[in-house]
Amino acid sequence: MSTASPGDRQRWYRSPGLLAAAPAAIFLLIGFAGPLLMVIGFSFMPPKSFSLAEPPTLANYQSVISASYYISLLWSLWLATCTVIILFVVCYPVAYGMAKLFGKWANLVTVLIAIPLLISENIRLFGWLLLLLQNGILDGSLRSLIGVEMHGLLYTFPAIVLGTVYVYLPFMLFPLVIGISMIPDTLKEAASDMGASRWQVFWEVELPLSMPGIMIGGILTFILSLGSMAESKILGGQAIITIVDDIESAFTFAQNWPKGSVLSVLLIALSGLIVFMLFRRVDLDRIIGRR
């Protein structure tokens, strides 16, 4: 832009997009792209090295693939899959109500669901700890009311799934609401006028048409639970080791940056692939705002 003719300057006035994008873009280059590239760089360094100047090698990838890290990756994938399925079943009726049935009450429900997002995840998970604890709220009230003991709820795989379902619920619900509200009512009416049952209307009209919302919600919650840390730490104890646990211990206790980098790259590549597929199918302008 060094040769700015008067005409060019006129255009800068009218379309200053690049100028407005620059500050945030530069910040994210330094704060996001930089660290990301460095992690990728470290994944090709010899094991246990702390500098990027060594000759590149694939040794870390080989050792990670031959070691048992796939177990933690599979646990994380299974956790994310369970979370997404449960969330979809739990959220679809609520989203349907918010988009089509509740009318002016929908705003109140939206606010009530958004408020917990503003409270630290740790505090809310601690609440579940109190509920599930031995002698905790569930155990204690059941014992004093009907004399049933509920031991061993905490520090299990279902407890972690409960945690991820709980924490990421809004991230499934809100995209679903957007998706379902994009279905024109007239289509449903037309289908039932032509003799479709309620189930057929759901299966053949509502579900396909709300697919963009379902996809966004599903992928968002899948990725979030794949990379979750606090849920398994607080509610899971040592029940399962997730891929994020492995990454953390490689970087901190083991002080093996290249190995931690390889595991990070694998996780990032997996989530990146999923996001990429999402972005290819979804038009952001249409979902967020105009057009």
Binding site: A20, L118, S120, N122, I234, S264
Partner: protein, 274 residues
């Protein structure tokens, strides 16, 4: 069953289900508040003796004050910087048509989808490679990497409903670029700026995975809560948890009231003009 009756039934079922989900969402928070009023050192339910002794202890404790101060400093700075950067970022995202917009939209949202713990570790590596000692200053930077895209997204929702003709009209009437920004763009986007700011503050205030790896020797409230949770129960955890929850509730309420007042004032102005 007639069609109308079945529609009424499914409507009722959905309402009941929604109420169940809301109870599910708020149950743990109620649990934390209940636990904060228990006098015992170890949590048992039903609670035998109710007391506010732990609130007094928390108020007196110097380390609690320091924790709150660290968390507050980080959240305030993150809010200020994010709002300023996101204001322009959102204009580029939603308002202006320019060549790289589609690409920019996708790249700027990437950090939201990124596992926060991995992002925190990558930033830890980045800081140590650059020779920066981690402290709460670096935590401000780390929080912004994740929060700035979210604020841009929130403000963009507002910016999409922006009518470009308003800015053009101001230009045609001879306003400078700065005047247009201050007197047209800024007021129109102000609801988005306020909600973006609230989100930035509270997301930073409650963040754990990024703080864990980027605060160095300093400690924020969520970090402290976590370290106490894994090392054994202390009644200070529900107490401090309840305090920060009521802080967040207070802030949301204050913003809502400000919004109501502003709206009422704007309406009154509109009436007096017409």
């Amino acid at each position: 069953m007639t069609q109308q009756a079945s529609a009424r039934l499914s409507r009722r079922l959905i309402t009941v289900w929604t109420i169940c989900v809301l109870i599910f969402l708020y149950m743990p928070m109620v649990a934390v508040i209940l636990a904060s009023f228990s006098k015992q050192r170890y949590f048992r339910f039903p609670i035998q003796r109710w007391d506010t002794v732990w609130y007094e202890k928390a108020m007196e404790s110097l380390s609690v004050r320091e924790l709150l101060w660290t968390s507050l400093s980080i959240a305030v700075l993150v809010t200020l910087f994010s709002v300023v950067l996101a204001f322009f970022g959102a204009l580029a995202f939603a308002r202006y048509d320019w060549k790289g917009r589609k690409l920019y939209q996708r790249l700027v949202l990437l950090p939201i989808f990124f596992p926060q713990a991995v992002l925190g570790l990558a930033l830890l590596l980045w800081f140590s490679a650059l020779g920066v000692t981690t402290s709460w200053h670096t935590a401000v930077f780390a929080h912004m990497v994740w929060i700035l895209p979210i604020v841009i997204l929130i403000m963009s929702i507002q910016a999409y409903s922006f009518d470009p003709a308003l800015e053009e009209a101001a230009f045609d009437l001879g306003a400078t670029r700065w005047q247009v920004l201050r007197e047209v763009t800024l007021p129109i986007l102000s609801p988005g700026i306020i909600s973006g700011g609230i989100f930035a503050f509270l997301l930073s205030w409650g963040n754990f995975p990024l703080s864990l790896f980027s605060t160095g020797a300093d400690q924020t409230v969520p970090e402290w809560l976590y370290s106490k949770m894994v090392s054994g129960y202390t009644p200070m955890v529900p107490t401090l948890g309840s305090l920060t929850m009521s802080g967040a509730a207070l802030m949301v309420a204050l913003c809502y009231i400000t919004w109501l007042i502003l709206r009422a004032r704007r309406r009154a102005q509109g009436l007096s003009k017409s």
